[in-house]
Symmetry: C2
């Protein structure tokens, strides 16, 4: 054990997955005096760079998971891909799995999620599990087709306007060897914009709701978040928070729950997706809220009292840094210009190389003027991504 | 090298010393995507718990230091105790030492510091190097006697009101084997309170001055900081910042410079001590300023543009958590009460065991009402330290 005696009094928290979400959990863990133990996909991945006590292994392998949680009070996750039966086996072994498998399945399987949310009376797009193109025709075109498991960042999602458009989705489901991937058809929602409602919830049942934010997706990838969502009707904001709190309670979620929502053109709120971990639409909270989603995730899974989720600023804008099409060796080289231009800019890099379409970091800009925050954050993110030339100062 | 390819583009920063200051540098380093390499006094010390790439060794051993900085662009420090000749040797080897030895000697040797500040016209208490009690008598009683090197947190400081009181100081100097420790006599200043002026300064000469804070010392150890200093005359605040900027520039300081000051009962400012590293009187900035002193220290030593040092809140109060006289195994156990009582409280623990008089963490409380911030921070710090019973909720 590489820890000083003080840590003997603190529980050790195990984290499965070495991505940027685990990396960003490490920052509040340092302040909390909380020892972390990480299961990383490979040496040198984002979180393994910053968490000394890490193991390299496959999260689909139960003995690897059992070795990870040895001596840990609680295990939590950077992603939702650990097989449900392994989570049950870990629970049976005596470690607290947070969020637990009964909750997590709703973030792993979209068909399970839709059935449960429907039963709870939570507004969702019309949906049905479909077996073939004829089923989709019966459901009605246009339809959004989604693999029930394994999709993320726009992967595993297709828009079908005719029977011919259905082939890729069913081919993807057929290609899966687990036998558990089906295709869910959903109505193509006519939405004004996308929103996200984040809550933290502890095993004791305490919950804290963050301000509802506006999120802009491009090709299924989150690009930009504005906190709070501008011009959102108070009734809709309240409804969004109530949906998130209802879902978190009913599903017994522990940690962060992100509810991605559509605000329809006719003024309704519909649930799009659920995530049970710190979420890209909550990164603004690192610099814009009293307690970041990462700290509240740790506090929640350890069943400590939650921190205030209140915004510290009038506006906080988060923009992701995404690798562009070309070579862009300027991720670190982006600092001199970006920091000199904006001394209030907050930069978060993930220790990753720039690759096309890959999230390698994000920036937060806060202040009283939304347009100014948008300009600052967009400029900085584009600059880091190498999309701006020297003339664009 | 345990880092992903992205880090090949970032410089690796070496840090000498594994205490809480290095630990708290690790948080902004995670956000910056900056790889750190640490020289720790022992396995398991505060910063070694959270920095994967660490070596264990003696900072007084030149080959150990040379091994540490191998492949690093810059080396900086958790403390000021590395021998000056080793710093010169590292510079000769091609690594940037920040702050450099010519600057750092002024934080290492109080006699050198007093001579230089006097030459710069910076107001200081009357002072003289003294060889024996007769010298102190000539200087005049009462006098504060300080070892010129090696003192910290009230160690190496005595108040002498008669010739008999001088013995401990000269005995301490005689006991030092380096032959470089002398005794400095200073007038016992009649002060209203203590202040601290922090600046970050980069090799390019950019500097950023934090708001001047009020600091309360007990037995030579910082207990409490209020940012900004309440009711400080604007002219004195400006003078304090100017002194810090003047000293940082004249001494070519890189990184954080903390100037501890007396505000005398007759309304003057006098320099008490200098520190060239993140400083206890700047911990409030982690939660109360746009850019923390730890991030600006990293940005400064890497010669990146500095972040805004402006306060985000009307008041931020920092109170240290110090080990009390009794067993207090409640450092981690302090969380449920402290966090439930105050959802806006910011806690920073160092991964250390509670021992009498030892700094093991601090809390920050910010808001618009100073008395409320003081109450919240003092209560939480006392609770973590085990000084409050169950009846004091």
């Amino acid at each position: 054990m590489p820890y000083a005696a003080a840590s003997e009094r603190a529980p050790t928290l195990a984290i499965v997955g070495g991505g940027q979400l685990a990396r960003m959990m490490a920052q509040p863990a340092i302040a909390m005096g909380l020892p972390l133990r990480l299961l990383a996909e490979a040496e040198g991945v984002s979180a393994a760079q910053v968490i000394p006590d890490h193991q390299v292994g496959d999260y689909r392998d139960l003995p690897t998971l059992q070795m990870l949680v040895e001596g840990c009070a609680v295990v939590t996750f950077d992603h939702e891909h650990v097989p449900t039966e392994h989570l049950h086996a870990l629970e049976d072994g005596g470690v607290a799995v947070r969020p637990g498998p009964e909750a997590l399945v709703h973030a792993q399987d979209k068909a399970v999620m839709r059935t449960r949310l429907g039963a709870l009376g939570v507004p969702c797009p019309r949906n049905a599990v479909v077996a073939d193109a004829a089923d989709v025709e019966t459901f009605g075109f246009p339809a959004v087709l989604k693999t029930t498991r394994g999709g993320y960042d726009g992967k595993g999602v297709w828009v079908a306007r005719s029977a011919e458009d259905c082939a890729p989705a069913f081919a993807a489901a057929a290609a899966d060897t687990s036998g558990r991937v089906r295709i869910l058809a959903e109505e193509l929602v006519d939405f004004r914009r996308e929103l996200s409602a984040l809550v933290a919830r502890s095993p004791s049942g305490q919950a804290a709701a963050y301000p509802v934010v506006q999120t802009t997706q491009v090709d299924g990838i989150c690009r930009e978040v504005v906190a709070p969502a501008p011009d959102l009707a108070p009734a809709l904001s309240l409804q969004a928070q109530e949906i998130a709190l209802t879902v978190a309670g009913a599903l017994d979620v522990t940690g962060i729950l992100a509810v991605e929502l559509f605000e329809t053109t006719d003024g309704r709120i519909l649930v799009n997706e659920l995530a049970m971990r710190p979420h890209n639409t909550g990164h603004w909270s690192q610099d814009g809220a009293v307690t970041s989603q990462f700290e509240n995730h740790l506090r929640a899974v350890l069943d400590l009292p939650l921190g205030s989720p209140v915004a510290r600023e009038t506006w906080t804008v988060m923009v992701n840094i995404l690798g562009g099409q070309e070579d862009a060796g300027r991720l670190w080289d982006g600092y001199p210009h970006a920091l000199a231009r904006d001394p209030r800019l907050r930069v978060h890099l993930y220790g990753k190389d720039l690759r096309p379409g890959r999230k390698v970091g994000h920036v937060n800009a806060y202040g009283d003027d939304l347009d100014d925050c948008l300009d600052r954050a967009r400029h900085a993110a584009a600059w880091f991504a190498g999309e701006l030339g020297d003339e664009s100062e």
